[in-house]
């Protein structure tokens, strides 16, 4: 199967750890993906916020290129990108007038039934549980892990068509595969406020704080995410939140790919775990400790 890879801007910038770890585990599993040539930004929330047509047209270019190159499915690890790509595909399928305008503008056809996958769909669906399980060399048993999904993976459900929007479990299943214990908590899909991360930092800190403190209350050692925007808020702003609410969190935030990599026995350095703002040292030590016990 020909798998297209749409990294999106974040994975080339602030969330480079995500791409590094992703490529690392794919390499370990011997799975090949190809970056869509000359891909462009999906427009993210800015486009849909103030220009609906643009929010369809920008992702459409990427989809059309992928289709032209004969890919059957696209992996967009960034939850925002997968959300926008899926949304564009949905609009193109349901709004013939808009589709005509866009294909005319792009001077490319687009009729694809190509599947668009977020990171979790890719791991569970394309890679498969068996494959992942077989890769686990260093089970993380004893580690309590909270999976944070946020909004973009699950909502709107009619477009995302992914898991239960109110109680998703896919990431928890992946966590379980690593041998770690998934932690259940109340705010799995509450919004962290990513869209206004830069423009309304106070609001964002309140929302992200709610999520982090709930996770903390339920006794997790760390948080895994599959979205660079979530990661930015939970990781980069964590220190600030601790200061604002005057309560320590100390929750390392890992990408799901990093957690899988750790269980595969890959060196944390190779997974760029040291690229996070909240140091994961304690957790890494705990993992080592657990491994030594066995």
């Amino acid at each position: 199967m020909k798998l297209a890879y749409y990294p999106g801007c974040s994975l080339k910038g602030t969330s480079f750890e995500y791409e590094v770890s992703l490529l690392k585990i794919l390499e370990a599993m011997n799975i090949e993906i190809k970056e869509i040539p000359d891909w462009n930004c999906c427009g993210a929330s800015a486009a849909h916020s103030i220009n609906h047509n643009l929010s369809v047209a920008l992702p459409a270019r990427n989809l059309a290129i992928a289709e032209k190159d004969g890919y059957e499915s696209v992996l967009a690890p960034c939850a925002a990108c997968s959300n926008r790509l899926k949304n564009a595909a949905y609009e193109l399928k349901n709004d013939d007038i808009l589709k005509k305008k866009i294909t005319d503008s792009l001077e490319m056809p687009y009729d694809s039934e190509m599947s668009i996958n977020n990171m979790l769909e890719f791991l569970i669906g394309t890679v498969g549980k068996d494959k992942i399980k077989s890769m686990v060399k260093k089970p993380l048993s004893g580690l309590k892990v909270a999976s944070y999904y946020g909004c973009l993976l699950v909502r709107p459900p009619k477009v995302m068509q992914f898991d239960d929007p109110e109680n998703p479990v896919t990431m928890d299943e992946l966590v379980a595969l690593t041998g770690a214990e998934p932690v259940d908590y109340s705010f799995k899909t509450e919004c962290c406020g990513a869209i206004n991360s830069l423009s309304k930092p106070d609001v964002v800190m309140a929302l992200t704080g709610n999520v982090l403190y709930d996770i903390k209350k339920h006794g997790a050692d760390l948080v895994v995410v599959a979205c660079p925007l979530c990661h930015s808020n939970l990781d980069v702003r964590q220190r600030e939140i601790e200061r604002k609410y005057d309560e320590k969190l100390g929750l390392p935030v890992l990408f799901i790919t990093e957690l899988l990599g750790l269980s595969f026995g890959i060196d944390p350095k190779d997974l760029a775990i040291d690229g996070h703002m909240v140091a994961a040292d304690r957790v890494l030590k705990k993992i080592e400790g657990l491994a030594n016990q066995r």
Binding site: A47, L54, L58, E166, C191, K200, P201
Partner: protein, 182 residues
């Protein structure tokens, strides 16, 4: 302040919103579940259900100048849970877009609006986002020069801030898309 409902203006505005939204305002029965679940309700001047009602009543000025439409984080919680399947998140997009097109500058939440504008400019000129440039331009525009600056050194240290942005090859096509759809 009282609102005099002008039937023609009301119809025009409601019709414009409905056609962009592909949904009917009358569907909303004002149960308030959207407002109940909205994570940013606490900062809003009008609750989401009020925005819907006011749109139906043609209160264009109030709606387009509201904080609410810019504070909405598009998390889709409202639409997902709406018992009537109404596009609550969608109406926020539509109202922002109308505000943008009509040149209504949000007096209270201009940072959000500016961020979106700067973001799209960045896409327009690079095809992709160059984060450092985006942040810099945004800060210049909003004059919030020092906000979040304390994050920068550590982010640089961690390698999160790239000093050079990527540009795509076919920038012409991007320019065309913007020309066709802006």
């Amino acid at each position: 302040m009282k609102t005099v409902i002008n039937e023609q203006n009301r119809r025009n505005f409601a019709a414009q919103v409905e056609s962009m939204l592909h949904d009917k305002l009358a569907k909303c029965y004002q149960c308030g579940k959207c407002s109940a679940g909205c994570p940013v309700n606490f900062e809003m001047d009008y609750t989401p259900n009020q925005i819907i009602k006011m749109t139906e009543l043609g209160m264009e000025d109030k709606v387009l100048n509201s904080k609410t439409i810019w504070l909405c984080v598009s998390c889709n919680t409202c639409s997902t849970r709406c018992p009537k399947g109404f596009e609550v998140t969608g109406i926020m997009d539509v109202l922002r877009e109308i505000a943008e097109k009509k040149g209504v500058t949000s007096k209270v939440e201009k940072e959000v609006q500016m961020f979106h504008e700067v973001f799209l400019d960045n896409v327009k000129s690079n095809g992709r986002i160059f984060e450092l440039e985006l942040v810099g331009k945004y800060k210049l525009k909003t004059r919030h020069l020092f906000r979040d600056m304390f994050l920068a050194p550590k982010m640089l240290e961690k390698g999160k801030l790239k000093m050079h942005g990527e540009k795509i090859a076919d920038l012409n096509q991007i320019a065309k898309i913007f020309k066709d759809f802006e």
